[in-house]
């Protein structure tokens, strides 16, 4: 069953008619972790705000839990949890007070659904008397997640929960999401970090209000037609410049400690590129087949 279904969803802002979301369609199944992956300005937040009934679309339709986002907004709000990108709890209430407040608003108690948040809440419990505004970034994030979960929603919307968060806290956060998934909660999450894409069941790669590709991370990776290599040399700066000068090479860009070299399926051979690099005076060349990542696919889509 589709828990979320968006059809031709469109959002246009202001008198300048800026199209933030341009005819986006997708579905999310029950218990899925679905990722909207893309940079600022891709339209991720606008999509979340329409699905959470906070913004009206200019065009298109969508349902959440089988309910229409325009007609049934009141019911939808009871069944979803939403964690906006900007910290939006009450900074002058304590951790405990925030949690109680959100439980009460949704007509429940912390005790009733404590099982669901227990794993996360025990990490911030030592600070339950502290004001939310005085928490560190990682703790704010955990509290916000608890508040979004306290009424036991069917669907959870997380807008860039890990932006600006260090790699250790990011990893912990994704482990929490995996545990929530086992409880049957459907999760829509957005992120600008490409390495988080593989942690989702399915992803939509987004840019400027449109979906460039939508599939499982592995299927997106498998679809890349090009041959991809990881290359190192004594002087990495020269290596990149030299590769970029050669127009027979489809693409070359830094990738961690290597440069990724993209060769089209029927184009120049890797051997030819290696001898070209030697001719150009590069030394200590290390050349190997690269493991394709979602980031490589995204770069390819952006360049098309």
């Amino acid at each position: 069953m589709d828990v979320v279904s968006a059809h031709n969803l469109t959002k246009i802002y202001g008198k300048d008619k800026v199209t933030a979301v341009n005819g986006v369609s997708f579905t999310v199944s029950k218990g899925e972790i679905f990722g909207l992956i893309g940079p600022d300005g891709a339209g991720k937040t606008s999509i979340f705000r329409m699905l959470t009934t906070l913004l009206l679309p200019e065009n298109g339709t969508a349902t959440v839990g089988g309910l229409d986002i325009q007609r049934d907004y009141k019911q939808i709000r009871k069944q979803i949890g939403y964690m906006p990108g900007r910290f939006s709890l009450y900074t002058d209430l304590t951790v405990e007070e925030n949690l109680n407040f959100f439980a009460t608003v949704f007509g429940t108690t912390v005790k009733e659904n404590y099982d669901l948040i227990k794993d996360i809440y025990i990490q911030i419990e030592p600070f339950k008397k502290r004001k939310a505004g005085k928490l560190s970034g990682g703790m704010k994030q955990k509290l916000a997640l608890c508040c979004a979960l306290i009424h036991k929603p069917d669907v959870l919307f997380l807008d860039e929960p890990t932006t600006g968060v260090d790699p250790v806290s990011r990893k912990e956060f994704w482990e929490m999401l995996k545990r929530l998934k086992t409880q049957g909660i459907t999760i829509l999450v957005s992120t600008p970090y490409m390495d988080e894409a593989v942690l989702c069941d399915r992803i939509a790669l987004m840019q400027k209000g449109t979906i460039l590709s939508i599939n499982t991370p592995q299927a997106i990776i498998n679809k890349l037609p090009d041959r991809l290599f990881a290359v190192k040399a004594g002087n990495m700066y020269d290596l990149l410049r030299t590769l970029q000068r050669n127009t027979n090479i489809s693409g070359s860009y830094s990738f961690g400690e290597y440069v990724h070299v993209v060769l089209s399926p029927s184009g120049i051979s890797p051997e030819d590129v290696q001898s070209y690099l030697q001719q150009q005076g590069l030394t200590e060349i290390e050349w190997k087949k690269a493991t394709v990542t979602v980031e490589d696919c995204f770069i390819k889509l952006l360049r098309e």
Binding site: T163, G256, E257
Partner: protein, 246 residues
């Protein structure tokens, strides 16, 4: 021995009985790209503020481009560039006005301002957009412009505080191309980031945990030392033991 542009020795900053930065020592060479990593709350921002001459250390020593961070903060400010994701440009000034404003602050004369801004607009392919307000241009352009403005006066060091948040992978790489370019011409780059693939682009990296530098080396030596395949795992091994959660 290489020429050191940044030298820090047992640099310490205490706020009351809280030691934000705890006796950190390191050197950064001319033209080096130095990655300054650490978990949220590890003390990076405090350290960076001291190095920029914005905050007086509690103890320890440091020099930037040969200037003392206790006594010569004004000279330091003239010899460094600074860019952060949070603040870099005035949104309600045009692109050209921003260039002139920052160039003027850094003491460029009219003739220099004119030629530098022309060159900069050309390099960034922003000639047609020069009269647009910064608030209306895409984030990727803003970041490239902010960086160019921060190095307009050709400082000895440029400090970049999480410069590439929120942009797409292509724009992020174009940004790093600019970093490589200035480093290639001898500028020292001091950068913080949460992207571990960017850590790999640095010549050397330090990782701070609870106010101390717990590791400092080249990315490949660090991976070797911790016997893991990625910087992500090096970071994880060091930072997961952090006690400090503010």
């Amino acid at each position: 021995m290489a020429e050191y542009v940044i030298k820090a020795e047992k640099l310490t900053k205490k706020f009351g009985d809280f030691t934000a930065t705890n006796a950190i020592s390191f050197e950064v060479g001319k033209g080096e790209i130095f990655g300054f990593l650490g978990a949220n709350g590890a003390g990076k921002t405090t350290a960076m503020r001291m190095l920029c001459g914005l905050s007086k250390p509690t103890s320890g020593k440091a020099t930037i481009a040969g200037f003392d961070i206790y006594k010569q903060t004004e000279q330091i400010k003239k010899n460094i560039g600074y860019m952060s994701q949070k603040f870099s440009l005035y949104e309600d000034l045009t692109i050209l006005e921003n260039i002139h404003f920052f160039g003027g602050i850094y003491g460029l004369n009219n003739q220099q301002l004119k030629s530098k801004s022309k060159q900069l607009l050309h390099d960034l392919d922003l000639e047609k957009e020069a009269k647009k307000l910064v608030s209306g241009i895409p984030l990727g352009w803003k970041q490239k412009l902010a960086f160019s403005v921060a190095v307009l006066h050709n400082p000895a060091v440029v400090f970049l505080d999480e410069p590439t948040g929120g942009v797409d992978p292509v724009t992020r790489r174009q940004f790093w191309d600019m970093i490589y370019e200035v480093a290639h011409h001898g500028m020292t780059v001091f950068v913080t980031t949460h992207y571990m693939d960017e850590a790999e682009y640095c010549n050397r990296i330090s990782i701070m945990v609870d106010g101390k530098i717990e590791a400092l080396n080249t990315p490949s030596n660090l991976k070797h030392q911790f016997n893991v395949p990625s910087m992500d795992q090096v970071f994880y091994q060091l930072a997961r033991g952090a006690k400090r959660i503010e």
